[in-house]
Symmetry: C2
C-alpha cells in the first residue's frame, strides 16, 4: 500500500503531476534542483527536501521526472542519489523520457537494493499533466505496476503496461515519432494554405474531424493559426526525444527517413533561437524556407 511518495523533478510536467498526488491524499516529499520551483507544492502540503536521497528516504514509492538520460542517472546513482536510501520493497518509477538501454541499467541497480523499478514515460504535455489526463506507458514487473497503479490513476487516464523494463521508453519513442511527423504534416498543410490564401479556420474545420485528423492538428493547428508559439512542449525537449529515437534506430540499423527529417528541421528552430518555444514553432522554419512572412 503506497502512502509516502518521494517526487523528484517539479518542472512544467512534474509540478502539476505531484499536485495531483497531493490532491489524491498521498504524502509527498519533493525535491527539485532549483528549490524555488518546488515551492508551490509546499503550499499544497508537500514536504520539500534537499536531495534525491532525502526524497527516497522512508518512501513507499519514488517518482522521477527530469529532463534527460544523464539527469536520471545522477538522480539514481549519483552522490545523495535515490539508490543511497531507497527502502527494500519500495517501487521507483522514472517518468522521464530517456534511453531504453540506460533504463535497464538503472533498473538493475534498483533491483540490487531489493526494490522494483518501472519506466513510465508520459504523453500529453503540460495540458495533460495539469488535467491529470496523461497517457502513461509503463515497462517493468507487472506486480510493481499494479502496486503503483493508484499513483498513475491520480496523474493519468490511459495507463498501459507495455512489457518488461525499457518497453515503456520504447513505446514512448514510437509515440514521439508520430508526434513529430503529425506535426510536420500540419505545418506543410498550413504552408500550402497560407500561400494559397485559404482561411485557416475553414481549413481546420474541414480537415480536423476526417482522415487527416490528429491530436497535433486539433491542438497545435489552432495555436499556429493564432500564431501562439508559447511552449506546451518545447522544441529542445522534442529534439532530445528524437535524438533518443535516432540513436535507437542507428543501433538497430532502422531507416527512419521522416523522423530524421523532422529532427533536422527542428535544428533550424534551435539555430534561430527558438529551442524553448513550443514544437508548433516548426511552422516558422518552413515559412522562412519558402519566404512566407506573416
Amino acid at each position: 500500500m503506497i502512502r509516502r511518495v518521494g517526487f523528484i523533478g517539479t518542472g512544467i510536467m512534474g509540478l502539476p503531476m505531484a499536485g495531483h498526488l497531493l490532491k489524491a491524499g498521498f504524502a509527498v516529499q519533493a525535491y527539485n534542483r532549483t528549490r524555488s520551483r518546488a515551492e508551490p507544492l509546499a503550499d499544497q502540503g508537500a514536504t520539500l527536501v534537499d536531495s534525491p536521497a532525502a526524497a527516497a528516504r522512508d518512501a513507499d514509492a519514488v517518482i522521477t521526472i527530469v529532463s534527460d538520460t544523464p539527469d536520471v542517472q545522477s538522480v539514481f546513482l549519483g552522490a545523495d542519489g535515490v539508490c543511497e536510501t531507497l527502502a527494500r520493497g519500495a517501487v521507483a518509477v522514472d517518468m522521464s523520457t530517456i534511453s531504453p538501454v540506460v533504463t535497464q541499467e538503472i533498473a538493475k541497480a534498483v533491483e540490487q537494493r531489493g526494490a522494483a523499478f518501472l519506466d513510465a514515460p508520459v504523453s500529453g504535455g503540460k495540458v495533460g499533466a495539469e488535467k491529470g489526463t496523461l497517457s502513461i506507458m509503463c515497462g517493468g514487473p507487472a506486480e510493481a505496476f499494479e502496486r503503483v497503479r493508484p499513483l498513475f490513476e491520480a496523474m493519468g487516464k490511459n495507463i498501459v503496461h507495455c512489457g518488461p523494463n525499457g518497453y515503456g521508453q520504447l513505446t514512448k519513442l514510437c509515440n514521439q515519432i508520430m508526434c513529430g511527423l503529425n506535426l510536420l504534416g500540419v505545418c506543410e498543410a498550413f504552408l500550402l494554405a497560407e500561400k494559397a490564401g485559404l482561411d485557416l479556420s475553414k481549413v481546420l474545420q474541414a480537415t480536423t474531424a476526417g482522415a487527416a485528423g490528429s491530436w497535433a492538428l486539433a491542438n497545435l493547428g489552432e495555436k499556429m493559426r493564432v500564431r501562439d508559439f508559447a511552449p506546451a512542449f518545447m522544441v529542445d525537449l522534442q529534439q532530445k526525444d528524437l535524438r533518443l529515437v535516432l540513436e535507437q534506430a542507428s543501433g538497430n540499423r532502422l531507416t527512419l527517413p521522416g523522423t530524421a527529417l523532422v529532427s533536422q528541421l527542428f535544428h533550424a528552430n534551435q539555430a534561430a533561437g527558438e529551442g524553448r518555444e513550443g514544437t508548433q514553432a516548426l511552422l516558422k522554419v518552413l515559412e522562412r524556407m519558402s519566404q512566407i512572412a506573416l
Copy 2:
C-alpha cells in the same frame, strides 16, 4: 430545389455515395465508363445512361467523382460531355480530387452555359463513403453551395464551404499532405516497435488516445498490425493527390520536404507492384529498407 441528379463515376467512392442519394429520395441518372460497375445502382432505383451528356440532361444537379484531372476535363468538356447538355440554372459538382487550376477553367466553361460549378472533394475513403460520413470541402458560389446542401448532407457529415472555386481542391490538398505524413509517422513508429519486439496492440493502446493520436493511427494502425493491406484508399490514388500537392508547391515555390519524402517512398510501393494496395502498404517499403521480414 434539387430532384434529379446526374451521377458520373461509380467507383469505390461514387457507388456508395450515389446509393445514399437514392436512399434520400433523389432521382439518380448514373453513368460509369465501365457500365457493369454502375449496375448495383440500377437495383436501387437509378437509371443507367450511356454518356456524361445523358447524365446531365434535365438534371438539377450533376455530380462527378472520377480519378484524375484529365478524366474530369473529358467528362465536362469532351464529346458527349456534361457541358453539351447541362441546363441553365443547374449546379455541377465535381467531387474528384484534381488540379485547382484546371478546376477554375472548368468552372468558367460551366458558368458560360448559365450553370454553377462547385469543387467539392471529399475525405474519409471507402468507409466514409459507405457510412455517409465523408468530410466535404467545397469551393464555389455560396448560393450554389446552399442549393446542393441536401445532396452533401446525404453523403457526408462535416460539410464546409471553404471559399471560391478551387478552394475546395486546395483544402483537399492540405488534407492529403497531413494524411501522408500521419501515415509515415505510424509506419516509422511500427518499424521501431517491430524491431524492438514490442506488442503492437499495446503500442496502439498506449498511443492512439494521446498526443501521437491520428485518424491514420486509429484506422490504418490496426490494419498494419494484422497485416491487412487491402485498399480503403489506394497507393496509386494517394500518389496522384501528392503529385497535385507537389505541382502546387512547385508553382508557388513552396518547400514541402515531408510531402516530397512520402511521395518518393510511395514510388517504392509502386515499383514493387503495390500501387493498388491500401496506403498502409507504405509500412512494407520501410520494412524492406531495414530488412525486417514479417
